[in-house]
Every structure is written in C-alpha cells, then in structure tokens.
C-alpha cells in the first residue's frame, strides 16, 4: 500500500470514529467500552475480552451539551458530552474514566445521571502522587478488574492481562518508531496525520492497530524525504483532545515542522511502557507511578527537590526541545482546561528563562476559527525566519 492511501485510511477512520467499533461489536457480539481520555488502563478492558475505545467527542459544533454542563467546562468535555447526547455512543456497553481532573469527574457523573449506561466505572488516580498512591492504585485496579469481570463474564487471568499489556507495549513501541522517523526526517509525516494515526489506534482493536502501524512504518522507511530545511518545533499542551487538523496543517504550511509533541494523541500516549516483571496488575500500578510529568498529576518528591515553583512538566517540555534539536514550542491551550492553565504560568516563565521562543494559541475543540490564529502563526514563523 502507498503512504497516501494509508493516510487517507486513517483520516476516514478518524472522521467516523466509532464505525469500526460498532462493526466489531456486531461481528463478535462482545462489549465495547468508551474510555474517557486520558490514561485509562485499556489493557484491563482488553484482557476482559472487551474493546476499549477512546471518547474524543467529534468535530461537530456543540449544540446539545451546554444545557447540561457549566459553560466553563473544557471543550473536550463539552464535545464528548455533546456526542453522547447526539447518540454517537448509543451502541456502547459502558463508559469508564480515570479521574484526570475534576471536570472529567463531574461530567461523567452528570452523564450517569442523564443517560445511565449498563456499565459505569470511575477509576481514581490521585492528583498528588506520593508514597500512599501505589497501594491505592493497586486497589483501584483490582476494583476495575472485578467490575469488568462482572460485565463481561470473563475472568481476567494474570496471563490474559500480561498478553494484553504486551500488545499495548508493542503498539507503543511502533508509535515511538513512527515518531522517531518523523523527528529524523521532518515533513515525512504531517502533524495532523500523526495525531490522527495515533488517535485512530485508540478506536480499533489493538491487534489491527499493530498490523497497520507495521505497514505504515515500512512504507515510511522507504520514503525519500529528509526535510532538513524546515524549522523544527515541539507542540505542547492540549491534554486529552486531538488538536484541530487544519491548525496543525497551518503550522506546517508556514514552514514549521512538528518533530515531537506532548499530546495524548501523540508522544504522551507512547512514552512509557508497562514493564512486566512480576504481577501484571502491579506492573500497571507502577506505570502510573513512572508516568511522564503531566499537568494532571504531580509528584511532590520531584517538586519539593527544587523549591515551590519548580515545574517538572516544564522540564519535560524543555527536554523535548533539547533532545529533538527543536527551535521553538507551540503551546496549544484548550479553552477552560484548568490543569493546563495552572501549569502554563510556569511553562511560560521557564521557556522565557531558557530563551526558547514559544507561541501560545488558545484553541477550541472542533473547527478552530483559523483566521484569528493565522496572523499569530505566520508572525511566529517570520520571527523564526522561516517561510521568508
């Protein structure tokens, strides 16, 4: 298959996000669980014989959700809830979420009151990750395990869970390989395509994703693009949501190439593996304890080492810039995402101190009013002396 055909395939999958999952359910007769981004342990759902699919909302204008949610709910939450009210998730058997922020917690509670699903599970993961967190997470994972067993009637054996983790690790490895090609040869894969490929992977059975990713990587390896004249940038921010494709395309049309990112539909999704040493449930718990710095959790131990205003998240972004030999950072700020807004203050300060040029863009879920952003993006590119 050619690259173009593959990319069109991913684009179509992302445009009709739940088509494949609904078809899978029809054919297999098994359960589909909608998982609210981010960090839900898909491996556990998979090990129970069900299909975990990420709930990204849709690009459609938000028309139904605002009557049910506060107006300062983030657009990711609004769009997901809107999709629910429009019936896009009706074929699913349940909804599950990890408590990434209070907005997720509130909205899925409203969800359960408004449109109860047969299966509803909230997994608690504390914001503050300290010595008490691991035992707590173990309990939470066990609780999830038994509720999934009850729903599916399948026992989640250690062997089944181990195999699921291995599959997900393989898919993460393949995403890393793809991202690595993109970083070595900017321009080979656009940022919008990359985000769509990774997001589409969360909407299909993991085995299919692995097959597709292997094909894609072999196609990319044969492609002769080196893209060395482009300006290398890192995209940070935008927790949970898949950024607007037109916005990412616009960045690249002005000569900026995204070589690394911090997106859930990007580098964050594949950054850390679940390391299988002993018990697989413990391995999952450990993966949370070893997670990358994020705006939705924090490790006081790392934080207290260097004083109150130390931001491991900012360190992480700066490290991406340095490692990727990037010149600048574009920060996508989703409207009303308070975890990110709080961290943004530190990130901005650190980038200024480090002399790394950055462009913050406030974005919305769904079609972004591009004209209001075009001047900023073009001016930023001019500033970096590209596209002149």
């Amino acid at each position: 298959m050619k690259k173009g055909e593959m990319l069109t395939g991913f684009k179509t999958m992302f445009k009709h996000p739940y088509r494949r999952a609904a078809e899978w359910k029809r054919i297999t007769g098994k359960k589909v669980i909608g998982c609210v981004p981010m960090y839900f342990p898909d491996e556990m759902v998979h090990a129970a014989g069900a299909l975990p699919v990420a709930l990204f909302g849709s690009g459609e204008p938000i028309s139904h959700a605002d009557a049910h949610l506060m107006t300062n709910a983030c657009d990711q939450v609004r769009s997901t809830f809107d999709s629910l009210l429009k019936g896009h998730y009706d074929f699913m058997d349940g909804v599950a979420a990890l408590h990434v922020c209070d907005q997720v917690r509130f909205f899925i509670e409203v969800w359960q009151l408004d449109r109860p699903f047969p299966f509803f599970h909230q997994m608690w993961r504390p914001f503050k990750m300290d010595g008490s967190t691991r035992p707590f997470l173990l309990k939470e994972l066990e609780r999830l395990k038994s509720s999934l067993e009850k729903l599916t009637g399948n026992q989640i054996t250690p062997q089944a869970l181990r195999e699921s983790i291995e599959s997900y690790n393989e898919s993460r490895l393949l995403i890393r390989a793809m991202n690595d090609i993109r970083s070595r040869r900017p321009g080979i894969l656009g940022a919008a395509d990359t985000a769509r490929i990774i997001a589409a992977g969360m909407l299909m059975p993991i085995e299919e994703n692995i097959t597709l990713m292997k094909q894609l990587i072999s196609v990319l390896e044969r492609e002769a693009i080196d893209g060395s004249e482009r300006t290398r940038i890192v995209v940070a921010g935008h927790p949970c949501a898949v950024p607007d494709a037109d916005l990412l395309d616009m960045l690249e049309n002005y000569g900026l190439s995204v070589i690394d990112d911090d997106l859930f539909s990007g580098g964050r999704r594949c950054a850390t593996d679940v390391i299988l040493e002993n018990d697989p449930v413990e391995a999952l718990a450990d993966s949370y304890m070893n997670a990358l710095p994020c705006t939705t959790h924090h490790f006081p131990s790392a934080w207290m080492k260097s004083g109150d205003d130390h931001s491991p998240y900012s360190d992480h972004v700066i490290e991406m810039v340095r490692k990727g030999n990037a010149e600048a950072v574009v920060i996508l700020r989703m409207m009303y995402c308070d975890p990110f807004d709080l961290e943004f203050v530190f990130l901005k300060k650190r980038l200024e101190e480090e002399g790394i040029p950055f462009l913050p863009l406030v974005t919305q879920h769904g079609p972004v009013p591009l004209e209001s952003l075009r001047t900023r993006v073009q001016a930023f590119a001019e500033r970096l002396k590209t596209h002149l």
Binding site: P357, V362, P369, S372, T375, R376, A379, E382, R383
Partner: protein
C-alpha cells in the same frame, strides 16, 4: 528602486511608497482610504494615490509587501508579511531604541516586545473580541452621538469617575445606553470608555511581560486619541512615544521590508 508597503487593515487601507537607490536621493509618500469590501481595487487606488503625490503611478512600483488582515487578498503583492513583523520594523526605524510596540487598529490591538537589537521576543494580540480597539471607541462615540474625533476632547471635561464593567464591546454599548438613561454626563462616559480601552491594552501589554525600562511606542489609528494614550501612560507610569502619523507605521515597515527583499 521604488517599493510600496500596503497595510490592509479591517477599517483603513494604508500605503507607503519609498524610492531609493542611485539617482533618486530617496523619497517617501503615503496615502490611506477606508478598506471596504473590494480590497484589491482599494489597494490599487491607495497605492496609485500615494504614487501620484510623487508624480508616479501604480505601474512604477517595483515591489509590494502587503500586510494587515487583507494581506493575502491582493494578487499583485510581491510578498505578504504579518503586521507584527511590519509594525516592529517600522517602529524600530523611527525609534531605534524602542523595545515595546503597541499598535491599536480598527479591530485589533497588538503588543510586540523586542530586544535591544530589535529582534521580536514575544507578541500578543487581542482574542476574538473588539474590546480595546478602535471599533470599541467608534461604537461608543456613535451611541453617545458625538464624532470619534471629538471623543477624546470631550472626555477632558470629565469630573466624575465612572467605571465601565463590560469588557465586551457589544455589552459595553448596552452599558453606555443605561448610563445615558441614568443621566450620567457624556464627558464622564467618554472618559470611562477611554479608560476601558486602555485597560484592555494594559492587560495585553502585561501578558508579554515587558521590561520595566522599555521604550514604548504606540501606533495605529487609536494612537491619535490622546485620552487613550494618556490613560495608558498613567497605568504604566511611563511616557509613550507616538509618531506624527501613527496610522501608516505598519505600511512603512512593509515598505522597508520590500526594500530589503532584493
């Protein structure tokens, strides 16, 4: 070489023509017109007018850099560049020490922070809202039934401080109407309107974290409004420099960049 900078703003289209090189000795000319909907025709007219002032015509222009929100609408441009880059270039040519440029136009306001060498370090623009722009002032003048040119003069008579609560241009109109019905004096409302614009711009300035000792230059149509400039100076506790013809500085910067293209 004869070059033009063309700044197609939401309200006004401005052109600056520069002549330089051997045998010329250098010349400058400018012109402006309301933008309207047919941007290419208005742009040609404005450039033609500016050219006419130095006994040239549109066809004599060798390079055109277009900027402003209509910058991509003119097929005859040599290159398009953003108003951020063009404004900073114009400001620095006029004030080589300037490190903070504040440009307030019809529908947008922007702040550009530069280092000592003129390199742009950061910029900020108003977000999807006309508060803190010329349009806000125009709407207020219309509601108050006074001309936009008189608004600043009238506000000088103000004796009683009123604070406007609305930061949105549309809601501000409603607020002005209710102030009028509440028998507030026109001059006090006018002063409050200027203060509201200055407040928004002040917020924008703060967002780029300017150096305390930055030399500040203000351009754009609103820079002609002494009341807004004065309010901002008080808030910043600093002097703000305003060039003689603040509206054409971005077009001037575009012309300078056109000169550099060679």
């Amino acid at each position: 070489m004869i070059v033009a900078g063309l700044d197609i703003g939401s309200t006004t289209t401005k052109a600056v023509i520069l002549g330089f090189g051997q045998g010329f000795g250098g010349f400058y000319s400018d012109s402006m017109k309301p933008t309207g909907i047919d941007m290419p025709s208005v742009s040609k007219e404005v450039i033609g007018e500016a050219a006419g002032k130095v006994r040239l015509s549109f066809n004599d222009i060798e390079r055109i850099v277009s900027t402003g929100y209509g910058r991509i609408s003119v097929p005859f441009r040599t290159r398009e560049m953003t108003e951020i880059t063009c404004n900073a270039t114009g400001v620095r040519k006029l004030y080589p020490q300037a490190t903070l440029a504040v440009d307030i136009g019809g529908q947008d306001s922007k702040v550009i922070k530069m280092d000592a060498s003129g390199r742009i370090l950061a910029f900020a623009m108003n977000d999807r809202c006309a508060a803190g722009t010329g349009q806000f002032l125009e709407g207020a003048a219309r509601t108050l039934g006074v001309s936009i040119d008189d608004l600043a003069k009238i506000s000088r008579e103000s004796k009683r401080k009123i604070t406007m609560n609305s930061t949105c241009a549309v809601f501000a109109q409603t607020e002005i109407v209710s102030l009028i019905t509440g028998r507030a004096k026109t001059e006090d409302i006018a002063a409050a309107v200027h203060e509201a614009v200055a407040n928004r711009v002040y917020g924008l300035i703060r967002s780029v974290n300017p150096e305390p000792a930055a030399q500040i230059v203000m351009t754009g149509g609103v820079a002609r409004n002494a009341a807004v400039v004065g309010s901002l100076e008080r808030m910043l506790d600093r002097e703000i420099l305003v060039p003689n013809n603040p509206q054409v500085v971005t077009a001037y910067g575009a012309a300078l960049l056109a000169e550099d293209l060679g």
